[in-house]
Symmetry: C2
Subunit: 293 residues, 2 copies
């Protein structure tokens, strides 16, 4: 069994990006610049955005945090997004979700210039991803693909089961793994809450991507010997063994599943750190005008 060390890989990628930024500076080029919009004072959102700003600093990107009161009107927010779209110094723009209920999330996302949509949530990027055109791929599926690439995990012709059909994980990763590409060509089955024979389907899988958000849902009896298991779930549950009284667990019962696997991601330290680094990679792609010219 080989542990997929998302923390180590993400650290390595950050070093690679930092080196590239150094090179850009040396050549007198423009430093990649990420702008983040935060509306209101939601606790977790504050943390996520702070992480993103910190990650930018670490690799040498410029970052701008634009904060607005929770009472901002949809129209004003849309105008603020348009200003960022028009600002040629800014390469990437993310709007931290969720936005307050009086603002349409879909409208906000569709206002972002697709060429700056480094979260990859704009339907045009989702659509381009689906039909195999260059696009920004959202953080979690991009992170999973990067792990598959760096660990040289074979996907072609493999039976892959994705559990969960969310717009930001299940749907994109299913389509990416099925696609003609060097990390794709898998035979993908997408399972969800209505799937009837999920245990049996999992037992036939060479690769399992668990992204349903149910702690320790995947047990040893659902996994065949030698399978690859990628655990996207992360839930905070009570624990008597930790000082804080809580611990983080994934969608996989790690202790019993791990011994059967050829590769497995831990939680935390697996997919999680990769999602953070994906945003940096997309911002660099934008600065280099790789996806949109």
């Amino acid at each position: 069994m080989q542990l997929i060390d998302g923390k180590a890989i993400s650290d390595q990628i950050k070093v690679e990006i930092a080196r590239e930024v150094e090179q850009i500076k040396k050549n007198g080029g423009k430093i990649p610049h990420l702008a983040a919009i935060l509306v209101g004072n939601d606790g977790p959102s504050e943390t996520y955005v702070a992480h993103k700003v910190k990650d930018c600093e670490e690799v040498g990107f410029v970052s701008t945090l634009l904060r607005f009161d929770a009472s901002i009107s949809e129209e004003t927010l849309i105008n603020e997004i348009k200003k960022v779209n028009a600002n040629s110094d800014i390469d990437g723009l993310i709007v931290q979700l969720p936005v307050p209920k009086h603002i349409s999330e879909a409208k906000i996302i569709e206002t972002i210039d697709p060429a700056k949509d480094v979260d990859g949530f704009h339907p045009i990027n989702m659509g381009r991803m689906l039909i195999g055109l260059p696009s920004y791929i959202s953080a979690t599926p991009a992170g999973i693909v990067e792990l598959i690439r760096r660990y040289k995990i074979q996907t072609s012709g493999k039976n892959c089961v994705v559990i969960g059909r969310s717009n930001i994980v299940g749907k994109p990763i299913s389509n990416l793994l099925a696609q003609k590409s060097d990390f794709g060509n898998a035979t993908v089955t997408m399972c969800h809450s209505r799937t009837k024979n999920i245990e049996e389907i999992c037992r036939n899988a060479d690769i399992i991507i668990a992204a349903l958000g149910k702690p320790e849902f995947i047990t040893a009896s659902m996994v065949k010997d030698g399978a690859v298991v990628i655990d996207v779930g992360i839930t905070r549950i009570k624990s008597e063994k930790t000082k804080s009284g809580f611990k983080l667990v994934g969608d996989v019962k790690f202790d019993e599943v791990a011994p059967k696997c050829s590769f497995i991601t831990p939680v935390p330290g697996g997919v999680g750190p990769m999602t953070r680094v994906s945003l940096l990679q997309n911002t660099l792609l934008s600065a280099k005008k790789i996806i949109y010219q």
Copy 2:
């Protein structure tokens, strides 16, 4: 075994649309208007466009056929598309594919106003479909969904196998059938040229959508008793039994598979006629501003 009569259903839908157009006329409303762009003189394209114009006439739509020489520049074609985008009388615009090689198909499609993209090929419509937002769904998957609806075929919790991963059939229909909706919630496996155990996968399927374009690929031994089989393939092969010396066959060996099925589409007369009527349905949706306001 029940035969899914795509010809009869599509005729019925055309009657329904014609009635609605009559009603619009009575109320002094604007008649739905489809514009088709045809570049060059490709034989099959001429036929397809002629059918589309004829279908419009049948239901009482206005249609405009814009013809351009095969030598038209990409820039000029793009400007012509922009003119149609700006023409408020035109509800739907299709550009008959393929376009000559010196013109980028992707650029042409992305120039069409998504609100008039009744072929549903624009990445923004593909993306909206993927994430479950209102969108134009392209002709073949829309036709399949309509057959499933009208024949009240149960999809929720069913094992569905889609064979083929094309952008216009396999990918969209896989995602539609997996989605939360009254014609979705299936557990979908997408198979393709790299799939290794396709016979076994098919034998476990409650619903098979064959869209690989290989004549009579699906045989009786690949289909379980009571399965639903939707045949998207249509290939012209030599035949000594017909006057023309040719006959049309699907991806399914109909004679041996049909007796095992609960529902099956014939070729021709199954999915084919439904794809033609889908374009009319999308044009009507556009005229009524159902998808985009």
